[in-house]
């Protein structure tokens, strides 16, 4: 019995190590129209906004309708039901190891300055950003960002993570249902550097659009 169970788990993790689900190509024209309308609204605000374009497999940073940076998605998967096109506002970024800002020590007037503009490199740089984190939006949607798995060992670990994710999401859906809230979670797999860049650029209060695939 235990052997069978272990075999099933092994097969499950191997299956999970395969690339994440691909987006179904196709267009929902009314949904695209609504999304365009929302984007026009955002573009007029003269701010940076982010478009999670799942069918095109990319995240783009846009301003005034113009794409200024594009991050390719290595994969993605969805839990829950795609929402109607709307402007999502980032409420919080959640990660285990939040990057900390360095507090500059103010030297007394008589003391020789120890920190100068060019002399100290204790700064918050992109390498300090996490690669695995969650973006929590105002409508309850969660975007979980994960880095691409590298190597066989990494893929197996990722497979176990995926198994745990698949087993735990229904329980979260139940919990949210009892609290009267629907639950939608999107997992984006990005290159580590791109994941860090997204964490860096997408700050609380930032606006975004999600283009869902045809289901």
């Amino acid at each position: 019995m235990l052997q069978r169970l272990l075999f099933c788990l092994f097969c499950f993790s191997l299956g999970a190590a395969l690339p994440a689900a691909a987006a179904a190509p196709g267009e929902v024209f009314p949904a695209d129209y609504r999304l365009l309308r929302q984007e026009l609204h955002l573009a007029k605000e003269n701010q940076i906004y982010f478009v999670f374009d799942l069918p095109a497999h990319q995240v783009s940073f846009r301003a005034s309708g113009l794409s200024v940076a594009e991050l390719p998605l290595a994969g993605w998967r969805l839990w829950g039901h795609p929402r109607e096109p709307r402007i999502d506002v980032l409420v919080e970024k959640d990660t285990l190891a939040e990057p900390q800002r360095t507090k500059i020590r103010v030297a007394p007037a008589a003391e020789t300055p120890t920190l100068t503009a060019g002399g100290d490199l204790q700064a918050l740089e992109i390498d300090d950003m996490p690669v695995r984190y969650q973006l929590l939006f105002d409508d309850g949607t969660v975007i979980r960002v994960a880095p691409c798995a590298r190597g066989v060992f990494g893929r197996i670990i990722d497979g176990w993570r995926w198994a745990a994710w698949c087993l735990s999401r229904p329980l979260i859906s139940d919990w949210k249902f009892f609290r009267g809230k629907p639950y939608t979670e999107l997992v984006l797999v990005l290159q580590p550097r791109d994941a860090q860049l997204l964490y860096w650029s997408f700050t609380a209060g930032g606006r975004s659009l999600i283009r869902w695939p045809l289901r």
């Binding site: 940076a69 709307r86 007037a109 060019g118 490199l121 992109i126 249902f177 860090q196 650029s201």
Partner: protein
């Protein structure tokens, strides 16, 4: 739990226990022996029910809650939808910068001069360090971060003079001068400064070896040649997109 283990051990898993038992006590032990598997089976069944219900809930369509979305307008009729979408795309394209514009990548410490999708020049820069400075006496706080968003070129200055702000004195442990004239620091900002509003500039630097790192106090520092090229290329009003 301790009792359960004790019961299991006493009932037969521990072969050392070989006490003869009377018929009623044997039934009682047999009943308790089945308790653990039954509890496990019940827990698994409950988990299975929760998993299935969770999967079903996840596949159920849910309406989007109200948020700061654009006002909902009725969709055009299916026959006019394509034309209406094309119209929206044209309106969106009209918002994009027409001529040259500047893109600042604060994470990569790069400045790009672009025209449409064409890259005219890529430059190495130094953006904000993200550090925090607190004034222990006055209680003021500064965060040395390059602001993100869409700005425009508001001024271009040749041979700018840096008026050293309070935080620079605090950071260096110097007394803040009372006379404003003492704050003037010529040559610190390079040959040019391009103002983008709110006190932020794209300017030169003495610390060229630190280009490519996040070391500034919020302004964007550039090398001399790049700064010269930038100043020549961007007229007032040019859009500066910082992300």
């Amino acid at each position: 739990m301790k009792t359960l283990f004790a019961l299991v051990r006493a009932r037969g898993f521990d072969q050392r226990v070989t006490h003869p038992r009377s018929a009623p006590s044997r039934h009682w032990y047999q009943g308790r022996r089945r308790l653990l598997p039954m509890l496990l089976a019940t827990a698994l069944a409950l988990l299975l029910v929760l998993e299935i219900s969770g999967w079903m809930l996840a596949r159920r369509a849910s309406p989007a809650p109200a948020g700061p979305a654009a006002k909902e307008e009725p969709l055009p009729s299916p026959g006019r939808l394509a034309a209406a979408a094309g119209n929206l795309q044209r309106r969106l394209a009209a918002l994009a910068p027409k001529g040259v514009f500047v893109v600042v990548d604060t994470a990569g410490n790069r400045v790009y001069l672009r025209q449409g999708n064409q890259l005219l020049r890529a430059m190495v820069a130094s953006c904000g360090s993200g550090n925090v400075l607190e004034d222990p006496v006055g209680g003021r706080t500064w965060t040395f971060e390059t602001p993100r968003g869409v700005f425009s070129v508001q001024s271009k200055v040749n041979n700018p003079v840096w008026i050293k702000p309070d935080w620079a004195y605090l950071e260096e442990g110097e007394a803040i001068p009372r006379d404003q004239k003492e704050r003037a620091q010529p040559g610190m900002l390079g040959d040019y400064a391009v103002g983008i509003g709110h006190g932020y500039f794209l300017h030169g630097t003495l610390y060229t070896r630190l280009l490519g790192r996040n070391v500034s106090h919020g302004c964007v520092r550039l090398g001399d040649e790049d700064l010269k090229a930038l100043v020549k290329s961007v007229p007032l009003g040019t859009r500066v997109i910082i992300y």
